[in-house]
C-alpha cells in the first residue's frame, strides 16, 4: 500500500478533510489498470527509441487538480508520479477558490514529494516532481486552452437547494477582528463550497465538464471526475459521449456497491479515434 500524504498541518475549519472520495481517487489512479493506461499514454521512453534521442520522448505532462482542498490527491499523484505515469517529470498544479486550501496544498505536495522521492544514493541526484503552483481560481478559468494533460476533479457533488456563490476577489484578506459568530459563518460558507453541488449535485461539475474539451490537450488530454449516485453517472457518461469527436467516458473506479448501486464512481473522460 502506498503512503497517504500527511495533512497534519491542515486546519479543517474551511478545508475538506480527506474522506472516502479522496481515497477512492488515490486508489483508482494508482491501480494497476489505470497506472498502466496512463503510463502508456504518457510514455517517456519508448523502447524502440535510441537512449540519447530526446526528441522521441514525449514532453512533460501538466497535471492539474481543480479544487485541491487539503492537497491529499495532488500530493499523492506528484509523489507517486513514477508509478502512476511512468515518469517523474510531470508538472503538478492545483487550483482552489479557498486561499487556505491553496497554501495547504502547496505544503502537502512539497512534503509528500520530498518524503517519497529522496534518492537512494547521494551521488546520483534524481530530480523530484515539481509542484509548480497553487492558484486561486474558479475551476480552471485562468489556464491556457489546450494546455492541460491530466485534469483531476473531486467536485462538490452533494445535491443542495442551490450551489453556494463564488468567493469575491477580496474577501479572503486577513480578517483578524472577526467575531466568533462571524468567523463561524465564514467557515461554514467555505466548507459549503467543498460539498454543496446545487441541483442534482451537478451545478459545479457541469461547468467543469463544459470546460473540458477546451482546456485539455487535444491529443493526449484526459480528465478524471468523481460522481456520486445522485449525480446519475450513467446519464453523465452518455452526455459526454454525445459530444462526438471521439470523446469517451468510462467508469474506472468505484467505492463498491450498496443495494446494487455504486455509491461513488470515478469517470475517465478522454478522446480517441
Amino acid at each position: 500500500m502506498l503512503p497517504t500524504p500527511c495533512t497534519s498541518h491542515v486546519s479543517f475549519d474551511t478545508i475538506y478533510e480527506p474522506s472516502e472520495d479522496s481515497y477512492l481517487f488515490l486508489d483508482t489512479l494508482s491501480s494497476e489498470s489505470e497506472s498502466t493506461w496512463l503510463s502508456n499514454r504518457f510514455n517517456s521512453t519508448p523502447t524502440t527509441a535510441p537512449a540519447n534521442n530526446t526528441q522521441s520522448t514525449s514532453t512533460s505532462p501538466l497535471v492539474v487538480e481543480v479544487g485541491t482542498g487539503s492537497g491529499v490527491v495532488l500530493g499523492f499523484v506528484a509523489a507517486n508520479s513514477q508509478l502512476i505515469f511512468g515518469r517523474r517529470d510531470i508538472l503538478a498544479l492545483g487550483t482552489d477558490v479557498n486561499r487556505n486550501a491553496c497554501l495547504a496544498t502547496r505544503e502537502t505536495a512539497v512534503k509528500a514529494v520530498r518524503e517519497q522521492q529522496t534518492p537512494a544514493s547521494e551521488s546520483v541526484p534524481t530530480a523530484k516532481t515539481p509542484y509548480i503552483a497553487s492558484i486561486m481560481s474558479d475551476l480552471c478559468t485562468p489556464l491556457r486552452p489546450g494546455s492541460v494533460d491530466v485534469l483531476l476533479f473531486n467536485p462538490p457533488y452533494v445535491p443542495s437547494e442551490e450551489a453556494p456563490r463564488l468567493p469575491t476577489v477580496t474577501e479572503q484578506e486577513d480578517k483578524k477582528d472577526l467575531s466568533r459568530s462571524a468567523k463561524f459563518e465564514q467557515d461554514s460558507y467555505f466548507l459549503s463550497l467543498t460539498y454543496a453541488g446545487g441541483v442534482d449535485g451537478m451545478e459545479t461539475t457541469d461547468r467543469l465538464l463544459e470546460a473540458i474539451p477546451g482546456i485539455l490537450d487535444p491529443v493526449r488530454g484526459v480528465a478524471y471526475v468523481l460522481l456520486c449516485k445522485q449525480n446519475r453517472p450513467e446519464e453523465v457518461k452518455d452526455r459526454i459521449r454525445g459530444w462526438g469527436n471521439g470523446w469517451k467516458a468510462e467508469t474506472v473506479g468505484n467505492s463498491g456497491k450498496q443495494a446494487g448501486w455504486e455509491k461513488l464512481v470515478i469517470v475517465r473522460v478522454w478522446r480517441s479515434e
Partner: protein
C-alpha cells in the same frame, strides 16, 4: 509560484481567451525567491520542449533575467548543459512570491501574495 507556471496561464475573463494579447500575462513588481532543486538534464529538456518560447521570452525580460536563447533549444542546444542549468534555475527554482500579473487585453491585474496568484474575478467581470 514557479516561473514556468506563467507559460500555462492566461486571463480568467472569458472574453479575453480569443485575444492573442491575453498571453502571456505580464509581471509587475515581482518579488522572486530561489529554491534549489536537483538538476536532471532529461527532466528539464522534456519541460522545455513543451513551452511556448515567445511567451517565455516576454516574461523573462519583465522579470529582469538575462536573456534566454532567441529560439527554443533543440538538437545540440538542447544538450548544452549550461543552457539547461540556466533554464532549470529560471523555470523551476525561481518562484514569484509577490507581485501582479496583468492581462494585455483587458488590463485586469491579478495579485500574487505569498506565492499564490489570485484569479478570482470581481463580480462585474464574471
Amino acid at each position: 509560484m514557479k516561473v514556468v507556471t506563467a507559460n500555462f496561464m492566461t486571463c480568467a475573463v472569458k472574453g479575453c481567451k480569443a485575444s492573442p494579447a491575453s498571453f502571456p500575462l505580464h509581471f509587475h513588481d515581482a518579488e522572486l525567491e530561489l529554491q534549489e532543486l536537483d538538476f536532471q538534464a532529461e527532466f528539464i529538456q522534456n519541460i522545455i520542449r513543451r513551452l511556448d518560447w515567445d511567451g517565455l521570452q516576454v516574461i523573462v525580460n519583465e522579470l529582469g533575467f538575462p536573456g534566454i536563447p532567441d529560439t527554443k533549444p533543440e538538437g545540440d542546444t538542447l544538450n548544452d548543459e549550461q543552457i539547461l542549468r540556466d533554464l532549470h534555475r529560471l523555470l523551476l527554482e525561481t518562484q514569484v512570491m509577490e507581485g501582479k500579473l496583468k492581462c494585455g487585453n483587458c488590463g485586469h491585474e491579478y495579485t500574487i501574495k505569498e506565492g499564490i496568484a489570485n484569479f478570482l474575478l470581481p463580480s462585474h467581470l464574471v
